[in-house]
Every structure is written in structure tokens, then in C-alpha cells.
Symmetry: none
Subunit: 192 residues, 4 copies
DNA sequence: CGGTAAGCGAGACGGTACGTCGCGTCTTAAG
DNA sequence: CTTAAGACGCGACGTACCGTCTCGCTTACCG
């Protein structure tokens, strides 16, 4: 019986070329920004043919999204024994990612793509935000167990508010104080 | 100094052409989005030559900013005698603007531009957010006078949080409930 | 059937693959022309890998030349006892080859290659034209023996003129009359 | 009356750019040949944008045809008082054009395009061959008037035969004698 | 009130980047 | 070993916009 197995034939895709194009993408993203970088430039920097990029990704958005995905940090669940210390750790963690030049560009790109393309927004929610929301829920559960906050506090809503404030502060820089301090102050409003 | 004042000579700029290009810009912004629309297309739609556009604006951002400016509503300061009714009115007002197809695109464009271009972000803060922040402060002052909220509540911070949540909910649509209800629920966290 | 369809080890498909690629080449030559056909398309149509083609031929010209070679007819020497009947037979014979869709493309390719590449032109002269020139010389000798034409007529020159007119009429289609009739009429000029 | 006159609006096409691209085309045609030259290279050499070329011509063939057209010599009608002197002059004239390096490339390109594209062949017949055919007819008429040739000789057919021989000799170089001598000898066959 | 200078629609310009296609080479797994 | 499959680096293709530059025509002001 011929099991018409749809297994991969031919030369497999080069992981080396793939890595090179992701690396080049990140470099150029940080250097010139999303709009300022061309696929040609990525291909040249990576030492790769343009079709090799288009074979994997059908748009710059996809490519950049995957490049970001490839360097994303694991989710951390701080557990200091105190809610606000946990939150400070989360804020510090977010600050490390978002306050670097690359981080700012990355966030801008994500917001840009998400606001123009709701499909991208959903993907980002599912792949990036959801795991962090669950990690944050754990933090709040522990705080509830320690009676630091009210038991009926909606962890998802608080997480969304925190994320919202983080992005807002990143984009509009509303006060001269530090991003971390500002985010912390805004969270004070929401949590007891 | 030369008293020969450099007043306008020759044919003055056509207000008709100006109106047409702003209108066309808004239509195409709603139809194709910021990145998806071309200056050529705006010129054709408006029945206007490209140089006529570039004589007035030196970039797509400027043109679009002015087009948005031209249809912006006046700031309203609700005064129902009750804080949450005032807030509901503000939310409704924001919803009317942001939940239309044009509104969504507009917001997307603003966020996009602001996140890529901090100068644009500052202009937007100054010209759009600041007046609304002051109006909101009035609303909160009245509520404080009615003892509905604590006297030490920072109105600017609350406004920022509200704005942040509005944008976040608009971009990521985190829950199936209505945008207005979601924003209201998040605000409940912050205000007493 | 005693064994599997896919027989053997070592090099079982060599001639089969070769035949397939020649056949595919001829089909695509007739369908899309020399410039319009790609090596990729030939490989796919023949069910053959591209390297299998490049192992045999180092250029499209070579491959096509061999494909044409593989279907070439033998030289015929008509002998009706009358010069113009002999010539008519030669013209008919040429018409069969050149007036088919494949034939036209083939001739176009040969002329193309010959006019760009004098080496190819010499090869074509030697391998294709020379035998026919000699056959034609035999026909004219017989006619001279029958006193149908002058004894000092240069057979090579007449053959060249005939070939030239055939190609010219094929390319430029100068008159609405049939190709055969036109060629015959032109030959009447040259031969008595 | 509403004479919807289709007059030229907007900036007129630059004759300077046009000249530059034709010149660059001829240079690159002689340097690299038809297949070996790219539109990009023409654009760069001419100091012209690619779209400026494509605005005028929709294919390389068209561009090259026009470039050749632009340097083509006027039709000459020799009138020495003797048929064979007239013919020799025509042959010399043709030799000057076709035996130069550029001339050979040009002829190759024309034959190539004509044999692959019957539309191009028709255009070439009409724009190039037809005027020369008529000029040749005048030469033969004069010879008839001088009783040098038979009155019923078809001038078009003789012209076609001459053209055919010229092309054939150019492509296949059938004899070691000079091109001019060979063409002359072949014509001797046809004209009494 | 007539000249004139700026503005106008139209559209061509030199460029840049796009996404696709075909080339000829290479790298697999299967036989 | 060779084969079929197919990815690879390369580079040309033809298109879409960019922002600028002529054109020939209004049109409103200023002398």
C-alpha cells in the first residue's frame, strides 16, 4: 500500500539563511525603523537573495514579527512575597525591553501594525499578551492570598490597564518623571 | 527696515482646492489607511495637482494632521451634576469619534505617527490632549466639590489612564463587551 | 509483472529522462518560443530535475539544438525525371517542416541563434545545409544531363538563393500568395 | 461648438531624455547585444529613470527598434545610367550599414524579433523594406527603359530575392569571397 | 484698467523599493 | 553513483509612489 506521505522533499530550507535574515532584520529595524528599511537592504545585509525572504514571509510585517518573536524573552512570574515589589519587578522587566532603542522601535512597529491590521493585533494578543496576563494573574492571586488587595479585583482588567499605561507613556511621554515611576504611580490609582 | 511689506502678490491660494484636498485625504484615510494611500491618489481624488498639495504641506503626516484638525470637534465639558454621568458623556463623545471607520483609521494613524515620530507625538499632546485634559480636570474638580471623590486625586493621571485604556481597547479589543462598557469598567478601578 | 515499476539500481532512468526532456523541449519550443520558455518549465514538463538537464547541456541553445537534431528528417533526393517536378517536391518537403507551428519556431530559433552566434551558424551550415546542398546538386546535374538548364549554372549558388528565399518568405511573409507558390516563383527568376 | 480638442496637457516629454535613452540603447546594443543588455543599464547610462523609458516603450524590442529607426539612413535611388552600376551602389550602401559591428547586431536583432514576432516583422516590412522596394522598382524601371532587362521582370520579387540573399549571406557566410561579391553573383542569376 | 506674478491642473522627470521570475548551482533523500 | 525535488544567491523585470520640475492657463492684485 502506497502511503502517499506528504513528507518534505528536495533541499531543506537553510536555517543559516533564516537566522541571517532575522538578525539583519533586527539590526536594520533598530537602525532605520520599520518604514526606513527595505527588503533589499535586509537581503544584502543577510547575504541572502530576496526570493529567499519572500519564500518564507509574504510581507515585511510578517518578517519583522517573526524576528521579534525570535528574540523574545520568557515570561517571568516574580514572587518576592510583596505585591508592589512584584509589580516593580514586572515594570523593571518591561522597562528593559521597551526603553532600549530597539525596544522603542519594536513597540512602535507593533502598535503600528496592530492599529492598522486587526489580525496582527489578535495574533499579538494571543502570542504575547495572553501569557503575560496569566502570569500577572498569578501575582495578583498571591497578593489576594496575603490580603494585600481586594478579593474581587479583576486581574485581567488590571493587566490591561497596566499595559495600556505602559504603551501610552512610551508613546506620549506625558511627564518629565521616569517611565517606570510614572507607570507605578498610575498603577497606584487602580490597585487599592 | 524696508516698509515694502512682503504681502501676497499674484493669485491667492484657492480655498476650494484646499478644501477638496482635505476632504479627499479624509476619505482615502478611512478607505485605505495612512500607509495605503498615496499623495497621487489624494491629488486625483481632489482634482488637484500634486504641487498644489506640496506647496501647502511638506509631508503626508502634515497633510493628514491638518485634515484631522479640520474636522475636530470642540472640547465639551459635561456638567450633569454627577461624576459618572459626566464620565459617561465623555466616553460617549469619544466613542462617536473613535468607533466610526474613519475614526478608527484616524486613531491608528495618530498612534502610528506618534510612536514613530516623537515630534508628532508632542504636537498631538499639545494640540489635542492638553485641552481635553484641562476639561477633564474641571469635571473632577466639580466632583471633588461634591465630595464624590478624594481631594488628592491627580486629575492629569486619571485622564492619562482613561486615554490609555481607550486607545488600548481600540487597538486590541481585549473583550467581547462593548468598547464603552469596557472603558467604564476600567475607570471604575481608578476612581474610588 | 514480475517486479516493481521502479526497476533497478545504478542509473536506470537515464535514456528515459533524456527522451522526456527532449520531448518537453520541443513542445515548449512550439508553444512559447525560444525566449518564452524556461529551463524550469522544461524540467517540470519532463518530470526531470534541473541538474539532470544541466548535466547534459550547458545552455538552452545546446539543449534545443539537440532536441531539433533528434527529430530531423533524412535528406531526400527527388528524381521525377523533370527538374521542376523535382524542385516542387523539395519545396513541398521543406514546407512540411517549416510551415508547422513547431517548424516556424524551430526555424526562428535557428536563425536567431545563427545571427547572434556565428559558431552556431557554421555548425548548422555543416550539419544541416551542406548535405542538402549536395543533394540539390545531384538534382541539378540530372537536369543538366537532360539539357533542361545551362551547364554552367552554379548549383551551390542556386541552392543558397533558394534557401535564402525560403527563410525570407517565412519570416516576412511578403505576399498573400502561398509560401510554396512564392518560393517557386522566385526560383523561376534564377533558373532559366 | 464643443470641439473636445485632445491637446497636450502637463509637462511635455523631454526630448533630451528621449535622445539620451536612444543613444544609450545603441551603445549598449553594440557593446553587449540585445539579450545582454538590461533596461536598468540603459536607464543608468542615459541618466534617466526606468519609468521614463517604460512611459515611451512597452518592451525592449520597441525601444531598440526606435533607436535603430532614429539613426537610419535615407533611402537612396542611384542613377548611374547603367543597371549594374546602380545595383553595385545599392550593395555598397547596404554593406556600409550591415557589415559594421553595430550593423551586424542590429540585423541580428531585427531577424530575431521578426522571426519570433510576426507583428514586428510586418512593421519592419512596412517601415523599412517597403520604401527600399519602391526605390529599387524605380531603378529597374529605368533599366527597362534602357532595354537592359526584360519588361516583364517583377521588381518586387527581385528586390525580395536580393534582400533574402543579403540576409542569408550575412548570417551564414557561405563562401570565402566578400559579402558584396557574393550578393552580386547571386543577383546575376536572377537578372537576365 | 491692464500688466504681471503667483497659483492652478496636468503630467513628465530622476529615483527608490517593490514583489516576481528565471538563471545556473547546491543540497537533500531515495533508489 | 544518479535521480527528482526544490532551496539557494543573483540579478533583471515591469510597477507604484515619491517629491520636484516644467508646461500653458487662469485669476486677482497693484501700479
Amino acid at each position: 500500500m502506497t502511503d502517499t506521505n506528504k513528507k518534505s522533499q528536495g533541499r531543506p530550507r537553510s536555517t543559516q539563511a533564516h537566522q541571517a535574515m532575522l538578525q539583519a532584520t533586527l539590526e536594520l529595524l533598530a537602525e532605520f525603523g520599520f518604514d526606513g528599511m527595505s527588503i533589499d537592504a535586509i537581503a544584502v545585509r543577510a547575504g541572502v537573495g530576496k526570493p529567499t525572504i519572500y519564500r518564507r514571509y509574504s510581507s515585511k510585517e510578517e518578517l519583522v514579527a517573526d524576528a521579534i518573536e525570535s528574540v523574545r524573552q520568557d515570561v517571568v512570574i516574580p514572587n518576592t512575597g510583596n505585591l508592589w515589589d512584584d509589580i516593580d519587578e514586572l515594570i523593571q522587566n518591561a522597562a528593559q525591553i521597551t526603553l532600549s532603542p530597539l525596544g522603542r522601535k519594536t513597540v512602535a512597529m507593533i502598535i503600528n501594525s496592530a492599529s492598522n491590521n486587526s489580525q496582527f493585533a489578535q495574533i499579538y494578543c494571543t502570542k504575547y499578551l495572553q501569557p503575560r496576563k496569566q502570569a500577572f494573574a498569578v501575582v495578583l492571586e498571591r497578593a489576594k492570598a496575603r490580603n494585600e488587595i481586594q478579593a474581587d479585583l479583576d486581574p485581567g482588567l488590571v493587566f490591561d490597564t497596566m499595559s495600556a499605561i505602559m504603551l501610552y507613556a512610551l508613546i506620549f511621554q506625558p511627564t518629565p518623571e521616569s517611565w517606570e515611576a510614572y507607570v507605578r504611580r498610575a498603577l497606584r490609582l487602580c490597585i487599592s
